[in-house]
């Protein structure tokens, strides 16, 4: 069953047993199946194969199968780097959720004709190249940058503070770039909220805090879960922006794999690290899923 993005498993409402797929259903699903097979399963299988192989001095694959890449990959360094990447991704997800939820709620409850335009406004800043966005941030955060000179001229600071090239800058870069991917899915859940339900909560004397915690948030959980997924998962392997803003002294798993693939000319080892990342990730998904099933 699909539905790893859902918090409550994927039970259909009562009285709606899921059917066995008809021929038409298979036909409609077939493009997705073919796509997955050709462009997801085949490349992943290839990578897994490569991860057991060796390479020559130019980086071409030599098909001598052995486990040496995995022996090498089971080292505390790589695990530490992976854990750190996961930690940053987690932090990013939490902050995006805090920043994104009220925004998504506001857009979802805005008058209908404003919703489209507000959504557009959330997304449009990202229709620029990530390089110029990131260099703009560098301009703002640097020691002789806008924020420091603003703080100094307003008397709040005496000396410029180093904000760039720090864990703070890494998280800022990630949050900035992934925030829309939290707002949009939550919006889709908020948008279908039944007004009557919220009114009822208020009518029964619930304050905004109680209405939110008891009614609104539980009802929008699928959107929150989807948003968390769309922010958390891709930000684990993200590295271009984090390296630019963080200064590159904390290696991330995406960067390490990239470097083994390119300047290391060691695709088999890079593939082994990538395969391990996939395995860890799949196990984690599987576990959360079974956990939810048990809870249900």
């Amino acid at each position: 069953m699909i539905g790893f993005a859902s918090p409550k498993g994927e039970r259909l409402p009562e009285g709606a047993p899921r059917r066995a797929p008809s021929l038409v259903a298979w036909l409609i699903l077939s493009p997705l199946l073919i796509w997955l097979l050709l462009f997801v399963v085949a490349p992943t299988a290839m990578l897994t194969l490569v991860s057991f192989a060796e390479r020559d001095s130019l980086g071409r694959i030599i098909w001598n199968f052995n486990l040496q890449n995995y022996v090498r990959a089971f080292d505390w360094v790589w695990i530490k780097i992976l854990l750190e990447s996961v930690y940053y991704a987690f932090l990013t997800t939490v902050i995006c959720m805090a920043l994104g939820y009220p925004t998504a709620y506001f857009i979802g409850r805005a008058p209908e004709r404003w919703r489209g335009i507000l959504l557009m406004l959330v997304m449009v800043p990202f229709w620029t190249s990530f390089l110029i966005r990131t260099y703009a941030w560098i301009n703002i955060l640097s020691k002789e940058g806008l924020l420091n000179s603003l703080l100094i001229s307003s008397g709040l600071l005496e000396e410029p503070v180093a904000m760039l090239y720090s864990p703070f800058a890494i998280v800022l870069g990630l949050v900035y770039n992934f925030l829309p991917f939290m707002i949009l899915p939550i919006y889709t859940s908020v948008e279908k909220l039944d007004n009557a339900m919220i009114e009822a909560a208020y009518d029964l004397g619930a304050g905004p805090v109680r209405a939110f915690s008891k009614v609104i948030i539980p009802l929008t959980r699928p959107g929150i879960a989807a948003g968390a997924m769309l922010v958390f998962v891709p930000s684990i392997a993200m590295f271009a922006i984090t390296t630019l803003m963080g200064g590159g002294s904390n290696p991330t798993i995406g960067e390490v794999i990239f470097k083994q693939f390119t300047s290391g000319r060691n695709q088999p080892f890079g593939a082994a690290l990538g395969t391990l990342l996939l395995i860890v990730f799949i196990i984690a998904l599987w576990l959360t899923h079974s956990q939810r099933e048990r809870e249900d």
């Binding site: 069953m1 790893f4 059917r19 919703r115 489209g116 966005r133 703009a136 208020y202 905004p208 891709p234």
Partner: protein, 260 residues
Amino acid sequence: MIRIDSLFCGAWTIAVMAFLYIPIVLLMVFSFNSSRLNLSWEGFTTKWYEALLTNRVLLTAFQNSLIVASATTLLSTLLGTLGAWMLYRYRFPFQRLLGLLIFIPMVMPEVLMGVSLLVLFVQFLNIPLGFTTMIIAHTTFCFPFVLVAVQARLQGLDPSQEEAAMDLGATPLQSFWKITLPFLMPAIVSGALMSFTLSLDEYIVSVFTTGSQSQTLPLKVYGMAKVGLNPQLNALSSIFIAATVAVALAGHFIGKKKIL
């Protein structure tokens, strides 16, 4: 009646929008800066806009980006929406496995995806590198975003309406078209926006799957930091953002037709 929560959420939204637009305002200001290095203000100029108009390379790359992103958006939206709907509606064998596979392109580091697709295209499928390969590659990492968004919206969809339509003789496809699709629209639009954005800005996967005729903007821009990012890029982004916002606002105020 305006409640505290909508006041709070409104103020919050304004703050978040400000956060999102800080760098954008800055790059718009710098598109009029006469310094090439983009670091400090040295005087007003419109020369970057003038230069941009004759910069065939940047404009072509931008056009290519739009082509790839539009095609990717279309394909991902189709794949993601139909996939999510089918997987919700029916119980397929190996459904749990399918659910896992969908997440693989999201977690797979870009370089792994880029190189493995390159090998697949060149050595197994024999597709020459170019728009086709690039669109396939982009769609592969974009459609899961649509699928996840649509799936979230489907949670708790009342199947009785669809059932009722089918009881009245509508085919599943008709009931999908008339009932499910309108209901899913906000999620589909969200997914489409996300796909478009992801595709527009993708660099690493593009490097490995592009040909010389399908050079997109990120590919042209990537090395520019070496000599200072070309301020023409600021100009290009400013025009694009301003135009998009203008079109959206015009659509909002002229057409009463709701988009979502």
